[in-house]
Structure formats: C-alpha cells, structure tokens
Amino acid sequence: MLQQKHLLGLEDYPAEDIQTIIDTAFEFRAVLERPIKKVPSLQGKTVVNLFFENSTRTRISFELAQKRLSADTVNFSASSSSLKKGESFKDTAQNIEAMKIDAIVMRHPTPGSPLQLTKYVDAVVINAGDGTHEHPTQAILDMMSLQERFGKVAGLKVGIIGDIAHSRVARSNIFGLTSLGAEITVCGPATLIPPEIERLGVTVSYDLDAVLDWADAVNVLRIQRERMGVGLFPSVREYRSLFGITVERLERIGKEVVIMHPGPMNRGVEIDSTVADGDQAIILDQVLNGVASRMAVLFLLLGGKI
C-alpha cells in the first residue's frame, strides 16, 4: 500500500513508495513479457482517462496499462478551450464522478489542476501531466529504466538536458531522482533554466560536453519550437550546436552515456537520429516500462489483488 491516496506529483512523495512502485512495475514488466499479457487484478474497477490536452502516447500507455489489468476504461477528451468558453472544470469533474468511477487519470495544461480535482471528486486521481508542473509516472518510468540498466538509482549521475523551465518531466525527475539519491545536473540555455533551481538540490551547467563527460545517463527533453518564437532561444541551428546530442559529440566524449528521451523526439534537433536509434539509447525500453509503471501505479492505488 502507498501512503497517499493520489499520485499528484513526486515532490515530497515518500521515497519508499517510489521504490515500491518501481519494484511492482518490474513484476508487471515480467507479465508483459508473457504470451498472455493480461491479469485480472483490477476487474470491476473503472478508470477514466480525462485528457484536456492531446497526448496520444501518454493516453495509450495508460489505457494499455488499464486493459492489461482488466479495468474498464473510458476516455474523455475535452479541449481546454471549451473550458474557457464556460463549461467549468468543476462541472466536468463532478459529472464524471457522478458516473461512479474509481480513478481519474488526468492530463491538463494548468499546474495544480490535479490537486484541485481531488477537492471535487472522491475518486483516486493520477496526474498524467499538469502543464509545466509535474508528470510523475514519466519520472517513475525513467527511474525504473535507470534501475533496469544500472541495478540501482542511488548514486547515479544523471543529466537533464534542454528546456528545464517548461518541463514537467524535468521537475518530476528532479524530485524523484533526488529523493532516491541520484545526483543531477541540469543543462540548457540560460533562458530555459528556471530561477533558483539549485535550491532543489541540482547543479546547473551550460556546458553539455562537460555534463556528458560526467554523467552515467542523460535525459534529453523535447525542445518546443514555440519557445523560439518568443525569443527564449535564438534558433534551432544554435540550439543544436550548443545542446543537441549529436553523434560527433558522443564520439568526442569517448565513453558510454545512456541516452533517454520522454518522446516525442525532434530528431535532428535535440537528438540525432543515429543516437536515438543507437545502442546507448534506451528510449524504447522507456516506452515499455511506461506501461509497466502505470500498471503498478494503478494497481497500488486501486488496491488490486494479484
């Protein structure tokens, strides 16, 4: 059992519970390797995937996790623009709750909305990404992938590369990894490093080569081209030359660094295609571990039986 009813974020989330989720995820990972990949653990439970923002990958990953656990799943997509037009967030939440469901997996563009949701519903709430705040299941699957590769997370040196300021993946990874005892360096353009981030227990660097030289693994974030339009970085060309994970750069380092990416990738921008498809990358393991991690979260929060 986990200490908290919901999974809203990894900030101040108990380290032992993160570890429990990861350990449980490995058990489900074994299930996913079997010919019959379905278990009856959550039979009779209903989970709603409430997505206020498009994210096919995350939704499919959650949906698959729910189906593998034999839960009933419903997808509800609402664009946030319809909310702006007057349908209140509270109404949507209460309508779904009224249909007697057990859990809500929510993706929403606004930080804090999952916490707000817990005030309007009794169901278990799982945050599938709240704007630029947190994306806890992504960080859990990242940590699971690191543990799979290195045997443990504690003591690992992990670089997080790219737009830290606007990344929920970065935040949840920082909270989770520091909690499990990894060392973190964040690296990206100064305009995309949020203020006082050192106070979260990370080091800031603008020198990608030095970070690659130091790190056991790097998590490469997707760079959003919209950020360029408002001058947060000058050009894709310059971004790639300073912060792109290129073949040449990795060759120059002359040591193995594990490469992770939460997807979807901008091949040729933050990461070269050859790198993404190469031996050092564990990007597809992350995808599979994502299903296993989400199964573990759902299973533990909904009190399923093996």
Binding site: T110, G112, S113, R171, P195, R199
Partner: protein, 431 residues
C-alpha cells in the same frame, strides 16, 4: 453585524481613546449628539442618552482605505457600493476610495457623479478615484479637471499599469496642475509577461509562470523619476517588493518629491510558499512575494518609507475563483480581515505599537487624500471605531459581508476585531 440608526445622543463609555491626530491615549468617554462629536473626556449624563459600553475597547478614528474595488457599475454580481459598504463597516472602515476599473470605467465626470450620488445615502464615505486615461486604455489622459469637480479625489488606471512613459508623464503634469495625486499600478507588463505568481524557488517548484520583483521596481523607479521631473504628487499603491521599497526610501530621503505609498494586509501576511496549495484566492496582482520582500515591507512601515495600509479589496465570484489557476482572476477581498491581520503581523509579530498601527489605518491615509484628520474635534462628524484590540478570533465565512468570498484569510487566526463602527448616523455592531 447589526446596523442601527444612531440615537440622538450617544455616549461611548469607558473606552481607551486613541486620538491619532494628537497622538494621545487615555481612558474616557465620547459624547456624540446628532451624529457629531460634542465632548471627549469624563462625561456624566446626559439623561436619556444611549450608552455604549466600551470598557476594554480602543476607541479611535474610523479606518480609511485608499484602495478598494466595489465593482459598481457593471459587476454588481461581485460587489455593489452597498455590499462593499457593509464589508467596510465590518472591518471598522468609515471612509474608502473606490478604484475606477468598473464597467464602464469611471473615466468621466458623469461616471464620478453616479458614484457620488449613489454613495450619498450609504453609511460609509465613498470617494471615487477617476481613471487616469480614457477607458483605462493607457493612451490618452482623461478629463481630470471635470472629474475633480464632481468629487474624484485621485487618478488611477488601477488594474492596468500605464505602460507608456509619455502618457504617464502627461498624466503627472496634468494632475499636478489641479493638485491631485496619481496612483499607478506599477507592474511592467512586458517583464511581468505571463506571470501569475512571484518568480522564485516556489514558481520553479510549481511550474507556474513567474512575475519577477523587478517588474514592479522598474516601473516604480520610472514613475518616481517622472514625478520628480514634473514635480507631481504620486502615491504608489500596493508595494510588494523589497526593491520598490528601496527606491521609495531613496526618493523620500534625497528629494522633495510629494511621494506616498501603501501596502496591503495580504502582502504583509502571506508569502509565496503559501501558493504550494494552488489556492486561487492567493492569486493577486502584484503577487504575494517572498519572505525577504515581506520583511522589507514591514521595515518600510517602521521607518516611514511606506505611509499607510490599504486593502486593495477586490471581489470576484466563487465561479471565477473555482477555475484552474491560470484562468482565475487576480484579486482578493480584504476589508473585513484587515485590522486583525495587520495587528497580528505588525503588533504581535513585529513589535509596532498599537498606536502606530492605528495611525497607519486612520490619520495617514486621510492625510494623503486631504480628508479631515481632527476627528475628535467638537462638532466634527462622528467617524469612529471601537475595537477589541487583543481579541483572538478565527476568520470565517460568517465574518464576510462582501458579496464575494475570495479571501485567503478564511481559517486564519487574527488578532483584534472591530466591535462598533460609528459613521453617518449609524452604529454597526459586530458579534
């Protein structure tokens, strides 16, 4: 709260009278006849007068708030002059200045007259502040002279910073000509950008867009430079940052500028850590800042850099504040909780004397606007409050008299509560 018409003769009996004008503090009685002060001191009789027992209470000038939003006309679902008046009475306020960001904005003599006429029959003195620019659009200065004639007491586009420095300069020059203060909501809109809370470690943790302290301080500095150049009167509203306090202090020390400033109870009470709960009632402009800023604001009050307390009472509907954090509007209500909050922070926690705190709520704001300040003088219209200054109480829904409920003070233990508010022929009595 019970509101009743004043008896012909009232004696406030046995209170501790604090006169901020003479700065005297002594036990005594106040005799009010037909709404006017008749005598202060040891009073016997008169026969048949209503006696209000003020034993254990502080009797002082009614509070004066230079910064409230009463939303009328246009957003009567949030507040009206009448409901705002009730909130004021509950908070011990007898005089308020209403900001012009109504719908339509109060940018004309007709709009000013509407408020003045409507307020005439209400038991709190309500003074309109006229818009500084037409439509509060920040492009063209408004008819300040005509608005002054109808009763406007200052000019402001509050809610909207005047971003155009040339327009600000013209507004200052023009208002100086008619001897009126200008109040600019100082937040550089481009530096503030999309910010919804203070920029710092807390915004970094929450992933919310930050509004850095310099967004305020660069515009305050610009305004002070322009006011000095034009020799105008300027009042800086809701100072929230240590940097802005520094600028104001420097100008007060080194220039002859007619410069005044206010701070809100919420900027004295809360820090950005409180936003970890994503409470939309703490979403306000300027934002709740860091502890370092909060301490600087208190220092600014102690050394006279900041002149007075003003609530920036800004009602919004429950529906609006139930939205997600990005969509919820900026602002919170503050009249009812004001004294209990500032008395707790400034008195109990920061060592300011009760007399100083009361002066910040009474004499100081009245001086800034040129209102009557000798309120215990014989024949002065009674505008008083009697307070239980040491009472600890938990601020709850029942203490709200505004039409709106958007306050982060719900559930907070406050120290000091207005008991009687006496103004314009009525006595408002709180439980």
């Amino acid at each position: 709260m019970k509101i009743r018409t004043q008896a012909k003769q009232i004696v406030l009996k046995g209170g501790t009278i604090f006169d901020p004008f003479r700065r005297t503090l002594e036990t005594g009685d106040v005799f009010i006849q037909e709404g006017k002060i008749k005598a202060v001191g040891k009073i016997t009789g008169p026969e048949g007068a209503e006696i209000i027992d003020c034993t254990g209470l502080i009797v002082t000038h009614g509070f004066c708030d230079l910064h409230v939003h009463f939303r009328e006309p246009g957003r009567e679902d949030k507040e009206t002059l009448k409901t705002g008046t009730n909130a004021a009475l509950a908070g011990g306020f007898t005089r308020v200045c209403v900001m012009p960001n109504t719908d339509p904005p109060m940018d004309s003599p007709e709009a000013i007259r509407f408020v003045v006429e409507k307020a005439a029959e209400l038991p709190v003195h309500i003074h309109p502040i006229g818009a500084m620019t037409k439509g509060q659009r920040g492009n063209e200065i408004s008819e300040m002279g005509a608005m002054k004639s109808e009763g406007a007491v200052a000019f402001s586009d509050d809610g909207f910073p005047v971003a155009n420095g040339q327009v600000m300069r013209l507004a200052l020059e023009y208002s100086r000509m008619i001897g009126m203060p200008v109040i600019n909501h100082a937040e550089d809109p481009l530096i503030r950008n999309e910010g919804v809370m203070n920029e710092g470690i807390v915004s970094t943790r929450l992933g919310l867009p930050g509004n850095p302290d310099v967004a305020e301080s660069v515009m305050v500095l610009r305004d002070l430079e322009l006011a000095q150049m034009t020799n105008a009167r300027i009042h800086v509203p809701h100072v929230s940052t240590a940097r802005a306090v520094d600028h104001i202090r420097r100008f007060k020390n080194n220039t002859q500028l007619a410069l005044t400033a206010e701070v809100t109870p919420h900027h004295l009470y809360f820090i950005d850590e409180a936003l970890m709960t994503f409470n939309t009632n703490l979403k306000v402009a300027p934002p709740i800042r860091s502890e370092k800023d909060r301490v600087a604001l208190i220092e600014g009050l102690k050394d006279g850099t900041i002149d007075c307390i003003a609530t920036d009472h800004a009602p919004h509907t429950i529906e609006e504040k139930e939205a997600t954090f990005d969509l919820a509007p900026f602002g919170l209500i503050g009249l009812e909780s004001c004294f209990g909050a500032v008395n707790k922070i400034l008195g109990r926690q920061s060592g300011l004397s009760l007399e100083t705190i009361l002066t910040l709520l009474t004499l100081q704001p009245r001086k800034i606007m040129g209102f009557e300040v000798d309120l215990f003088a014989e024949n002065c219209e009674a505008e008083l409050v009697a307070l239980a200054a040491d009472e600890e109480w938990v601020f709850g829904e029942n203490d709200i008299f505004s039409r709106s409920r958007n306050t982060p003070f719900l559930g907070e233990t406050l120290i000091g509560k207005p008991r009687y508010t006496i103004t314009k022929g009525i006595v408002a009595e709180s439980g």
